[in-house]
């Protein structure tokens, strides 16, 4: 950030920045990012680390893709307003489940939507215009897709290597436009492997704690070079009734003496809290600045036959907003329920 002060070291030394200058500078260099719902509630800025947690199939990756599309779409293109950010996304895939076709579909939909607005406001034209429009759209599509960068990691060392490469790449500006969003899907992917690898002999220092420390260190270093928003997904790894729940069984048995309704209630609560149980080291938890939790709520029959649409709830845990929002996921977007 030394570059931002310009080429006047003396001036920089002489007078400290006033608060007004500081706030206007930080507002202009790190503007608030508006993400698609349900991530729109909390104000996010580059440098923040957002953790999206929730069980499998609760829409975490989908929210990432929606945010990615928002980032790679330009704000305005050929007079069409898209409201995007026009910057690059780095997607670190640890789960290896990313499907590019889904990203492509969401993006195409957004492009078509934006163009449709224009056409409505404008005038109807014949087929040649449509063809022209089509090729334009394809150009925009490939433009946007090129801003989406992706790397797949099969273990923790590849993950840290990727983070290191990311830094050197962004320094040498090979990637062209600066990376604005860094996405990690999902952070707990190698938890078991790392936990099981004992710090023996040569392998010393490969425990979960130190790997997490390295990861955080690398992300911090990257963020210093390049202010970016970090979005991380995290899936729970304990189910409600696995043998890891030994403590829970022992703990609840003492409630048997008491009222049976109390038992049932506490059991439920504990089960719920167990499935949320935090497994990342505390250093990771203090690194995260924002946290949102997703849950699958209920299944409601949809308009189509043989199809069930799930509704999901999202709840901001940090900052703690005491509201839950309901939404449902369709093939290419999120619908907020009122």
């Amino acid at each position: 950030m030394a570059g931002e002060t310009g080429g006047e070291p003396r001036a920089w030394l002489a007078v400290d920045e006033t608060a007004a200058a500081f706030i206007s500078r930080s507002l202009s260099s790190r503007p608030t990012i508006i993400l698609p719902p349900p991530l729109h509630r909390a104000p996010l800025r580059p440098g923040n680390v957002v953790e999206i947690s929730g069980p499998s199939n609760s829409g975490k990756s989908h929210l990432l893709l929606m945010a990615a599309v928002q980032c790679i779409l330009p704000k305005e293109w050929e007079g069409i307003y898209f409201g995007g950010l026009g910057k690059s996304v780095m997607y670190l895939d640890l789960d290896c489940r990313f499907d590019v076709l889904r990203l492509a579909r969401i993006l195409r939909n957004r492009i078509a939507e934006g163009s449709a607005h224009l056409r409505n406001g404008d005038f109807e034209k014949d087929g040649t215009k449509d063809e022209f429009q089509c090729s334009l759209q394809n150009m925009l599509f490939s433009d946007c897709m090129q801003r989406f960068l992706y790397v797949r990691c099969y273990n923790s060392s590849e993950f840290t290597a990727a983070l290191k490469t990311l830094q050197s790449q962004s320094r040498s500006e090979v990637l062209g436009l600066g990376i604005y969003f860094v996405m990690i899907d999902s952070i707990g992917a190698f938890y078991w492997i790392d936990r099981a690898s004992q710090p023996v002999g040569e392998n010393k220092g490969k425990s979960l704690q130190s790997i997490t420390e390295t990861v955080i260190h690398e992300i911090r270093k990257f963020l210093q070079l390049q202010p970016a928003l970090v979005l991380v997904t995290k899936a729970p790894i304990y189910a409600d009734g696995t043998t890891t729940a030994n403590d829970f069984n022992r703990g609840s048995s003492k409630y048997v003496m008491e009222d049976s309704t109390v038992l049932r209630y506490s059991r439920l609560e504990e089960e719920r809290s167990l499935s949320f149980r935090e497994y990342m080291p505390s250093i990771w938890q203090s690194f995260v600045t924002h946290r949102i939790n997703l849950q699958v709520e209920a299944e409601v029959p949809s308009v189509h036959e043989n199809e069930v649409l799930s509704t999901y709830t999202s709840e901001w845990m940090q900052p703690s907003l005491k509201t839950k929002e309901k939404f449902s996921i369709v093939d290419d977007g999120v619908i907020l329920a009122q």
Partner: protein, 312 residues
Amino acid sequence: MSATRGRSGGGATTSGCGLKRRNAPQDHEDSEVMNQDQPSTEDWCGRFWNGMELLKDVTEKKHFLPTGLEDIDTLLGGGLRQGQLTEITGPSSSGKTQVCLHSASNIAAKQMGLIMYLDTSNSFSPSRVATIIYGIADLIGQRGFELQPKDARLKSVMKSIICESVFDIFALFEVLHQLEVSLLNDKVNNGGSKVCLLIIDSISSLLAPIIGGKYPQGRSMMISVAVILKKLADDYNLSVLVTNHMVSAGNGAVKPALGESWKTVPHVRLMISRENNICTATVLKHTLLASGRTAKFVAPSQMFGGSSPRRP
């Protein structure tokens, strides 16, 4: 056809109709090949794909492999996708193995590539496969098949299904490693038809005994298997099909045997259940389509033919 390639070590091979025990590869050849094509660390570090490259890779190399069961294919948007891991779960005798056998037979009959069938519970039935192959109507007319006698046709189809019995996790690791080596060989030699479908029926019977308990090693191995499978799937354009049985979740309900930590592994999860002859398939999870879609269909006669569906 290079059906005879693979591991040198032990491991029982089902000696079914037309299934050959595979020859031992020359060891020195393997080591040479490894040096040539093994991507160096530097290579992958530079491997930042952009969206267009990914899209190109998917459209050119990752196709849908039809299972031959139309309703399931429609439900999955075309079948089993190469590069992805598909899981079928369902209660006992709901037809999980039948779907596996059906996919194997269909892809073998259509000559789309080799099929590697890892059998953990001796449920692979060559005669079942034969019945299914006879039942595939559009076989006739392909590459002069009609000219061949029935047996010769069956034999040539059967040759492209490689079946191997795997009874524990360590054998699985070894088989997967051998598979990778042989795929690497194929890639270098540019030779013949390649394995395009890997079936593990059932993976839960290998993984369930090792997970749980106080120590993380079991789960670590489970995730390692998952990572290896996904890596193979992506690097060599394999489609991986695994089955997961169901266990009681209390209150008479059932749940897939592999729990929360496995849930994040498969790209596609399909649950099937059967009542009499009506099958219900539900998409629990899909990377491309919204989940929750179901399809009801009458079990095709060749799917549950005969009086005993499992082992005629």
